[in-house]
């Protein structure tokens, strides 16, 4: 629990809002009065001031006191820039620093581009060979796959052909049966009555069956 002084000081320190502080101090005339006065002072302190600042010769003061000193410049920024420039030259130029057999050698390697060209040629040849091998393998795979597919196609066509032939034969048989049925029907409708009439008129009827139907 804070007392009024602590509340007021918390507000001054910005830990309490004006509304909170006002609410808590309202009951105490003394502290509330201080709070209101402090608010007036704060407003006054925040109001802008436009009074011109007089010109004071501070250069003279400085020169009298410190003018004798020579400006010291730091050495490390220059060193840093120098090292950076050196690193840049090393990386751009064909200068090479190599450690061989415990000896550090600094070389101005002008054949660098020839070596690079050779390396490039070797790499290209290797790449070409790899590509050819890959293409051959692909071709072989393709041929095998094609042969398999042809066999499958042949089987499929043969089977289809057989099915078609069987169907044709069935159709032919059915057609023949229909023809026979049709012939028989025609005979029954046209020929048989005539035959029967002829037989009925003759005295001799050697082919008559029990049912009265004569076979052709």
């Amino acid at each position: 629990m804070l007392n009024n002084q602590q509340i007021f000081e918390a507000w001054l320190a910005g830990k309490l809002t004006t509304a909170e502080c006002e609410q808590q101090l309202q009951s105490d005339t003394e502290w509330y009065g201080r709070f209101l006065t402090a608010q007036q002072l704060q407003r006054h302190a925040k109001s802008p001031t436009f009074t011109a600042v007089p010109d004071i010769d501070t250069s003279q003061m400085f020169r009298q006191q410190w003018g004798g000193r020579r400006t010291k410049t730091a050495w490390w920024p220059k060193l840093s820039v120098g090292m950076s420039a050196m690193a840049l030259i090393f990386s751009i130029s064909p200068l090479q620093l190599q450690l061989e057999d415990g000896a550090l050698a600094l070389r101005w390697n002008q054949n660098n581009s020839v070596q690079q060209q050779q390396q490039l040629t070797t790499m290209l040849a290797s790449f070409q060979q790899e590509q050819q091998q890959y293409l051959q393998q692909q071709l072989l795979n393709q041929q095998q796959q094609q042969a398999t597919q042809l066999v499958l196609l042949k089987d499929y066509m043969t089977e289809n052909e057989q099915k078609a032939r069987r169907g044709d034969m069935i159709e032919l048989v059915e057609y023949l049966n229909q023809q026979r049925q049709s012939d028989w029907q025609y005979w029954q409708d046209n020929v048989q009555p005539t035959q029967a009439r002829l037989d009925y008129n003759s005295s001799y009827q050697p082919n008559r069956t029990k049912t009265g139907v004569n076979k052709p």
Binding site: I56, T58, F62
Partner: protein, 187 residues
């Protein structure tokens, strides 16, 4: 734009860099002058105080160790010089003789507004506070120092600072009430 720290400017100034010194001065010059105006009550004394503080600062720049902020250290010097000047001031000098910081020659409408009048009254009444109380009010409200920082600057205890601060508030409250009554009577 990259802003150099006070410490960096001080180091450069100590190495003889005049530009760093000017940068450091320009950072606090206005603050110090207005502090002087409020505390001393007139522009001449404020100017003298500013010049005095800057001279002391220039002379003692190497003594800044960074134990506190530069502003705290600088206002420590300013407080000492201001109190010294206030002590040396002629006892016969009437405080009412000192001009107001608000310019009465400007007959703007805004100046007639109540808020502006209140600000003027506050400014006037601050002059009637005892110097030690006025200083604490100045440092707390206008320079935004904490009680502990003010105690460090004035080399007194924090409780003494608070005691002066609350005494100043009580006195100022009474003065402001009287001033408001008088102002109302004049209208």
């Amino acid at each position: 734009m990259f802003k150099r720290s006070d410490e960096s400017l001080i180091n450069k100034a100590l190495d003889g860099d005049e530009r760093a010194w000017h940068q450091l001065v320009s950072r606090y010059q206005s603050m110090l002058y207005h502090y002087g105006l409020r505390l001393m009550g007139n522009p001449d004394d404020a100017r003298d105080l500013l010049q005095d503080v800057l001279m002391v600062l220039c002379r003692n720049l190497a003594q800044f160790r960074g134990d506190s902020s530069f502003k705290t250290w600088l206002f420590g010097i300013a407080n000492y010089r201001a109190m010294d000047m206030l002590r040396k001031r002629k006892p016969t000098q009437d405080i009412d003789d000192s001009p107001d910081l608000f310019n009465d020659d400007e007959p703007s409408q805004e100046a007639r507004l109540h808020g502006q009048q209140t600000q003027k009254i506050v400014q006037q009444q601050l002059k009637y506070l005892p110097a030690d109380q006025r200083l604490v009010v100045e440092l707390r409200f206008y320079q935004q120092f904490t009680f502990d920082e003010i105690a460090d600057q004035l080399a007194i205890s924090s409780n003494t600072v608070k005691s002066r601060f609350y005494a100043a508030l009580d006195k100022l409250r009474t003065q402001l009430e009287v001033a408001h009554v008088e102002q109302s009577a004049n209208f």
